[in-house]
Amino acid sequence: MFMRNLYLLLAVMLGGVASASTEENERFSITTLNVDGLPQKILVVKVNADGPGDVGSARIGKYLMKKGNDLLFLQEDFNYHGVMVPFLEDDYKMDEWTGNVGLDGHSIDFLHLQNHRFPCDGLMAFWKNDLTVTPAERTAWKQNFGKFSHAMDEMVTKGFRRYEVTLRNGARIVVYNMHMDASDDYDTNIGNDMKDKEARMAQWMQLKENILAQLDNRPVIVLGDLNSLYKRDDVKRQFIDAIGETGLATVSDVFIEMEKGGKYPEYEAGAQVKNRELDILEGETLCKILYINPVNGTSIRPVSYSMDKDGYQYDGKPLGDHYPLTAVFEVTSRTVGISAALSVQGDNKEAVYDLSGRKVSKPRGGLYIERHGEKVEKHIVK
């Protein structure tokens, strides 16, 4: 219903259109990593017995420091944040850490444990000191599945964070970092992860709505532990293609584009794919980096992509249960002086926002792209 009533109105003000910047082709590196930071044990209960723990997390911090990428986006940064951060403090600014999972500092009602949910999301961002990043908007998933089983997603407040980043030459991008609902191998093996998949797909839809509602002329990078595989999750059709079909933007998975020639694995309804292997399906992992270029906006393109299997290890063993993914992007075209506005219009309401999210009056005139369900119309308002 929300989408049905959603009018996306992208106004490119005719008077504001200027030539492309001469400062284009700036490059920046961006990394996503699930740092496997759940505690090894809570009281007598083994939670993440084979996780990196204190020592391993310190090694992860050191690894990230040495790599020195511009933007770092982490997931499961829970209990070992304190040992990882010292390695990054000098070179990076950071986002707000939302806490650990365990007994420290938490009031847990053991008599009604079913009602307990740790407030933390485990998401974290670090950016080089010379970059500008606005404080993140944090959004919890509306739908999850699993409390004491099914990967226990509801024990923490999983969701996504949205960042607005200004690069060194002034180009602006938006980044979404997230951790999506997981499928437990136990359930996957017996074909019992349908509701996990449903929750995950609902999260993709929530993400899509959020992106489209705020889409302007800035490119968007979506990354994190998406717990999704194209073979078992219908992400290609329902997210990537669906956004493309709006006519507002194009979406691409960096791994697929750079290592698979743009060919996505076929989705198979009911496919059972285990999670555990770090390199799951010919290089495709649960973590991903996607990028979205708005039509007529600033655009970026990946120039390199890597999953660092060799570097992310100690004594022959991986430092955590996910490998870091890193992409280097190049800003290929940039709109300068362009004012874009987005209108979200309900049945009887209309609101128009500028790039900063401030409510403004109706655009004076320009090229409008209006979406009515599946129908897209373009027209010029003088």
Binding site: V45, L111, N115
Partner: protein, 569 residues
């Protein structure tokens, strides 16, 4: 078209009214108050609740509408919406000593005050007075008389649901049906009526917890007569009077009871007070033959046979085709001094025949049975039942998620059997095999061969079908076992029956014997069980034990001199 629409609307309106009529209620009293769990005069725990006393329509024994009263207790945090509601406990009350003890009067004792315990369950308690008490005081009471109270309980549930909906109070996901003693028996009648009638009215129980119930009145009567004794003779007399009154048996009390009881029976029917029986000479410690006429103490007499035949007519199992998807926990102490263990010994095999697989392990099958409780009288076994029931209900939302058993727990219980229990004990340092082998000169093979030869062991039969001398000789293989049983007032037959009723098969038993008689130095068959359990045990199991221990400690602090871990889980 307009007319058609009007007719349709009228029909819909009629249907809604009809549906609403089935669950109409009237609130008699509503208060934010405190419920107290009491043991005698001692308050063990108290908790703020929103309490409704309400009336609703059910039926009397003749199927005519009757106004029944009941009580709904909602934890204050749930009523105010501060805490989410986990579900409803439909509690079937135990025997009342007087109409003054009816739930709607506000009198809460140990069992029906169970939402006031240290675990603070966020469940709503729904409890009927049953006919003959509260608003229906003018009707006779139905003490062990079949389905009447069960219908009162279920109609009370439907009305309570409506009341909760109307007051915007969440009912949660789970619906438990429970009771102990008379309530244990009633809860099974409720389950029966649910399967046969109220299933279609949207009633599905998450689990029924029945403890200490006289689930077979005919057997109970025979046992009382044979032993000429019950811990409280008044209960036997009450049962007999209720049967005479409600089953229209047309028996003159002078033929049934001796004086002065015979003259006082009608007075008891009127007052419904146990104290009335005392007034007419019935004391707790009486022998039954001092109260009951010889014809009814002779099970071979025509009078006794007719009486038993009537009790069998209202037997729980008559006309019940149980829904195998419903879950049960049935518990009974071997040494229950009020309700003979033989009652439950009848229903377990019947349920097995209907398709259930008994198991003592919670959640392994839909029929969890525990008859391994021993050395506990009726009251103390009520506490064991209460601890296990309350802990199980409390942990349920952790153990089950969206109707699915937590797989960490499922993995533990699905393969759990007696042998694994023994191995776990071994891994805790109790070297059973060494104890056996150091003191035994015979082999299991010898005993089995002899048993088969003399017909006392049927390898395809059950534990209950074992006969002497195999029963004794197999037990003799474990040094000190017979002495140990004697110390806890159990015979070999007792032990065998307890194993059988708790879902242990003959093959389980022989497997254990084979294992414990193997050399202690030989490698264990399946590795270190304790380590395996540690690897696999997750929050739910720890939590259940934590809850049970919390409750057990609470009772210990309350003055009950018992040691929970010695009660036999």
């Amino acid at each position: 078209m307009k007319k058609l629409s009007m007719i349709l609307l009228a029909l819909v309106g009629y249907m809604l009214t009809s549906a609403a009529q089935e669950a109409t209620y009237k609130i008699i009293a509503e208060a934010d108050t405190t419920v107290k769990t009491r043991a005698g005069s001692v308050t063990l725990y108290s908790r703020p609740v929103r309490r409704y006393v309400y009336e609703y329509t059910s039926k009397d024994a003749d199927g005519k509408p009757a106004t029944i009263s009941g009580v709904i207790m909602i934890p204050s945090e749930v009523a105010s919406g501060e805490a989410p509601c986990d579900g409803i406990m439909l509690f079937n009350r135990a025997t009342l000593g007087s109409p003054d003890d009816a739930p709607s009067t506000g009198n809460t004792q140990l069992l029906n005050g169970l939402i006031a315990n240290p675990l603070k369950p966020n469940y709503i308690l729904v409890m009927s007075d049953f006919i003959g008490y509260g608003s229906s005081i003018d009707y006779p009471s139905f003490y062990h008389s079949g389905d009447v109270n069960a219908r009162n309980s279920l109609d009370g549930l439907l009305a309570a649901r409506q009341l909760l909906d109307d007051n915007g109070i969440s009912q949660g996901k789970y619906l438990f049906n429970l009771g102990f003693s008379q309530g244990g028996s009633e809860s099974l009648y409720v389950a029966k009526l649910r399967d046969m009638e109220y299933k279609d009215k949207g009633v599905t129980f998450t689990k029924t917890f029945a403890g200490g119930g006289p689930t077979d009145y005919a057997i109970a009567y025979r046992e009382y007569v044979n032993k000429d004794w019950c811990e409280d003779c008044k209960d036997v007399i009450m049962m007999m009077i209720s049967c005479v009154e409600n089953c229209h048996m047309n028996i003159d009390y002078k033929d049934l009871f001796k004086e002065p009881l015979a003259s006082g029976a009608k007075e008891y029917v009127k007052t419904k007070k146990k104290s009335t029986l005392s007034d007419y000479g019935v004391s707790m410690e009486d022998s039954l033959h001092n109260l009951i006429q010889p014809a009814y103490m002779d099970l071979e007499s025509e009078q006794a046979k007719a009486f038993i035949a009537k009790l069998e007519e209202i037997n729980l199992m008559n006309g019940w085709e149980p829904d195998l998807e419903q879950r049960y926990f049935i518990e009974h102490s071997r040494h229950d001094n009020y309700v003979p263990i033989q009652c439950v010994r009848a229903i377990i095999p019947w349920m097995r025949d209907k398709g259930f697989t008994p198991s003592i392990v919670p959640g392994k099958t839909n029929l969890q049975t525990n008859t391994l409780v021993f050395k506990l009288d009726h009251t103390l076994s009520a506490i064991v039942w209460l601890i296990q029931t309350v802990a199980a209900i409390e942990v349920w939302p952790v153990m089950y998620y969206e109707g699915e058993q937590n797989h960490y727990y499922h993995d533990i219980v699905k393969d759990m059997n007696l042998l694994k229990v023994v191995k776990t004990l071994e891994s805790w340092g109790i070297n059973i095999r060494k104890m056996v082998n150091d003191n035994n000169s015979r082999s299991l093979e010898d005993v089995i061969v002899e048993g088969i030869a003399d017909g006392s062991l049927d390898p395809n039969g059950s534990i209950a079908q074992l006969r002497a001398p195999f029963r004794a000789s197999v037990l003799d293989l474990i040094p000190g076992a017979a002495d140990l049983l004697a110390k806890v007032d159990l015979t070999t037959d007792d032990a065998m029956e307890m194993l059988e009723d708790s879902g242990i098969t003959l093959m389980d038993m022989l497997e254990v014997f084979a294992y414990i008689m193997s050399p202690a130095s030989s490698p264990q068959v399946e590795g270190d069980v304790l380590s395996t359990l540690e690897e696999r045990v997750e929050a739910p199991l720890y939590l259940m034990r934590y809850y049970e221990n919390t409750l057990a400690n609470w009772f210990l602090m309350g003055g009950f001199d018992v040691q929970y871990n010695n009660w036999g889980m």
